[in-house]
Structures are given as structure tokens and as C-alpha cells.
Amino acid sequence: MAVKVLIPTPLRQFTGKQESIECGARTVGEALGDLTANFAELRKHLYTDEGEIRSFVNVYLNDKDIRFLDKENTRTKDGDTISIVPSIAGGSPNSTND
């Protein structure tokens, strides 16, 4: 199943400037795993050395924070959109924070 992962501006340098990446996945965790397998440099920005999603990295499935769903096990369906949003600028996924 194909889901779209939106790449926040500061991370696009690691995806060849692509703003979104299509990933095949049944869960959010699989989608992020697929993403970081294809773009290895993303991994250390998104995950700790222990393999957990870093504390300031918020992941949304269609605008819902996955920590209030089933976290990384949250099921995805065809056409879903996953957003990666750092906890800055009141949650805005952009480098022009204040």
C-alpha cells in the first residue's frame, strides 16, 4: 500500500530536495522504516541510537498525532499522508522558526 510521507524543509537536503516520498507500508513505523532505508542519512535525525523516534519529532497520520493513536503501530491505508513535524515554532515544520 502506498502512503505519502511529507518531508519537513530542514530534512529535504537528505531526500534530494523532494518534498514528499511515496512509501509502501501497512503501518506508520513501516513507512518510516522504508523512508530511512531509502534515505539513510535521515535515520539519525529521526531516531535515537536505541531506535526510538526522537522526543522532539512528532509524527502525524492525516493530521492526527500518532502518539494519541497506536504510535508506530498505527495502521495505514492507501492514500494516507504522514507528516514529520519537529516541536518548534509551536509545531510548525519549518526552519524559519521564532
Partner: protein, 354 residues
């Protein structure tokens, strides 16, 4: 050209000068000040006509310089201090530049009665605009992305700010573009402070923050350390401190990567660099990892009783990094800026995770 300290202070800031002594934490109010205060109290009680209390905006600045008692004990040659900027009435350091930008625009005629202050911000600057605008009788309109936190939107709305919500996936760029569109449609209606390009931003710190640090430290500081966001705090404070004593080492801090969780900070190599930034000012530039700041937020709360924001803890982490590199026998007196407290970050995951 820089403005001399004491000259051109806004009435808000100069009104503060008189009151600082009264709330001096050292309790060493100068005798003549005490005398003046007693006399004015006496006069008031006689006539009953002078206003009592302080204006809200007069409470901006002159924040306490807090001395760390416990967290820095691994560095016996160093003393650590932070300006508690959450004591500003809007809850953050951003009250200073916001007030200065608004007062500067009034003086130069770019902000007229009846105009609306418009900007794109979901952070502390927006809260400062909203508070100052409410207290000064201006309307304020802020563009912010839907992804901004509910608490922020509620604080802004509580001050009566009009919120223009832009699509979350467009981030702050979408909010900035929307703000520019609104101004382009009705240019005469708005004042757009633009903190990234407005010299009044750094001048606020040149005129107030730096001189407060100098006085509160008795000129003893050896190091000034601060994070870079708009860069106004670092640029303005450093310019003035270097005039007062060129030997003060000024160290700027940045996140360790473009993707980070230090609200208010900018990773200059990858970000849109603010016009007011001057990269030649810093004697050294260091980086802070988000998780290190998070751990220090928790330590500061539990060991020092200080509820710091991630960026405040990151600033302290920068001080510790410099302290770790001191030469044997070198004594250091550090001053940094704590931009805000941890109260707006309580829903972050790091409280449970780091």
C-alpha cells in the same frame, strides 16, 4: 552607529530605571534612592493624587539575574548566571524587541493610531505583540500555521489577537507568504515589524539587556553566551558588552543540525539567515544537541528549582561547554539569557522520554 546607553530609552524602559533599585535582589538600594522613594511615598499620602503601581509595559526588562547554586558545581572555577526573561509580563525575552520595534515605529511614523500590527509568528514574539498591542490600543493580526500548538493559539486569542490560520503543511513559510499578501492588498492598514530584518530588534538588547547585565554583574562577567534565533539578543547584547569591556568573550550557540527541537533557535548554515545577523561578532560559536538541552531542562527543574524552556537549558548547556574548556586556574563568570520558562513546553514528550 550605535545609540549610547541611557540615550533614547523608551519611556517604558526609562521608567523602569527608577524602579530597578526598589526591586534590587541584593537589597543594596542606594541611600539616595531609598530617600527618594520614602519622600515620594510621603508626598503621595499627603496629596493622594499621584498614580500608584506600575504600568504593565513598564515592567518589561530589568529581569532578575539568577545565580545558579547547584547545577554548575562540576566547574568550581566558574560562576553561572542567567537572565530570567520569563519575568517579563509577556513571559519571554521577546517583550523587549517587540516593544522596541513598536515604539520605534511610532517614533518614525511607520505605526499610526488605528493601524494594525501584522506579522507571521506562532511563538513568543506573537505573544509579545499581542500583549503590547492590547495594552497600547492597537489591533494585532497574526498569521500562523494550523500546526501551531493549541496553547499558543489560546494565549494569542486571549489577548484579542486576530488569528489567520494557514495550512499546516506549508509551515511558517505559508504564514509569512499569507502575511505579505494581506499587506500587499491593503498596505496603509498595517505595520509589519519583521523582526528578522528590523534593527530595533537588536537595539532593544543593546539599550537594555546588555546594560542590565553589566550593572547586575558589577562588570565582573568574563563570558556572555546566547543562542541564535533572529540573532537580536546575541547581536545587540554583544555589541554593547564589547564597548563596555572588549575582553568579555561572547559565544553564540546554534542547534547541532538543521532538524532540531530548540524552539526559537536557528541553524544558520541551513536556514534563511536574518538580515540583522552579524557573523563577525562572536568570539566562538558552539552547537547544542536537542536531547542534551532536554536532559538539562529536567535537571534544572529538579536540582535547582528552575523550570527552564528547552532553549534556556540549551543556553546553559553552552555555558557548561565553555566552562569545560577553561584553562587550569582560569576563573570565569558566565552570563546567559534564559529566553522563557518551561511552562509552555509541558506537553512535550521529553518529560517522559529523555
Amino acid at each position: 552607529m550605535y545609540i549610547r546607553a541611557g540615550a533614547g530609552l523608551s519611556e517604558d524602559a526609562s521608567a523602569l530605571g527608577e524602579l530597578t533599585q526598589g526591586r534590587s535582589e541584593q537589597g543594596k538600594g542606594r541611600p539616595e534612592r531609598m530617600h527618594t522613594m520614602k519622600k515620594s511615598l510621603w508626598t503621595e499620602s499627603l496629596t493622594g493624587t499621584e498614580p500608584i503601581g506600575r504600568s504593565l509595559l513598564g515592567c518589561i526588562g530589568n529581569t532578575a539575574l539568577l545565580r545558579l547554586e547547584r547545577l554548575g558545581r562540576n566547574y568550581p572555577n566558574a560562576e553561572f548566571h542567567g537572565k530570567a526573561e520569563w519575568l517579563n509580563p509577556g513571559g519571554s525575552v521577546k517583550d523587549r524587541p517587540a516593544l522596541e520595534m513598536i515604539r520605534d515605529a511610532e517614533r518614525t511614523g511607520r505605526l499610526q493610531p488605528g493601524q494594525t500590527i501584522l506579522d507571521a509568528t506562532s511563538g513568543n514574539t506573537g505573544i509579545a505583540y499581542a500583549m503590547i498591542a492590547a495594552a497600547s490600543g492597537y489591533h494585532v493580526k497574526l498569521c500562523l500555521p494550523a500546526s501551531a500548538s493549541e496553547e499558543r493559539k489560546q494565549i494569542l486569542a486571549a489577548y484579542g489577537a486576530e488569528l489567520v490560520i494557514t495550512p499546516g503543511d506549508e509551515g511558517s513559510d505559508g504564514a509569512i507568504i499569507r502575511a505579505r499578501e494581506i499587506i500587499a492588498a491593503e498596505p496603509g492598514k498595517y505595520f509589519y515589524p519583521d523582526q528578522y530584518s528590523n534593527p530595533a530588534n537588536w537595539r532593544a538588547h543593546y539599550k537594555t539587556t546588555a546594560n542590565e547585565i553589566w550593572e547586575q554583574s558589577g562588570g565582573r562577567l568574563t563570558h556572555f553566551v546566547a543562542g541564535l534565533g533572529t540573532s537580536g539578543t546575541f547581536v545587540g547584547t554583544t555589541r554593547r558588552l564589547k564597548e563596555l569591556n572588549p575582553a568579555i568573550r561572547c559565544v553564540s550557540l546554534q542547534p547541532d543540525a538543521a532538524f532540531h527541537g530548540l524552539e526559537g533557535w536557528k541553524h544558520m548554515p541551513s536556514a534563511m539567515v536574518p538580515d540583522i545577523y552579524d557573523a563577525t561578532l562572536a568570539d566562538a560559536s558552539l552547537t547544542v544537541k536537542t536531547e542534551d538541552a532536554y536532559r538539562l531542562v529536567k535537571r534544572a527543574a529538579r536540582e535547582e528549582g528552575l523550570l527552564l524552556s528547552p532553549s534556556a537549558a540549551a543556553a546553559l548547556d553552552g555555558c557548561f561547554q565553555v566552562a569545560a574548556s577553561l584553562q587550569p586556574g582560569e576563573q570565569a563568570v558566565f552570563v546567559t539569557i534564559f529566553p522563557d520558562s518551561g511552562t509552555k513546553y509541558l506537553s512535550e514528550r521529553f518529560w517522559d522520554e529523555v
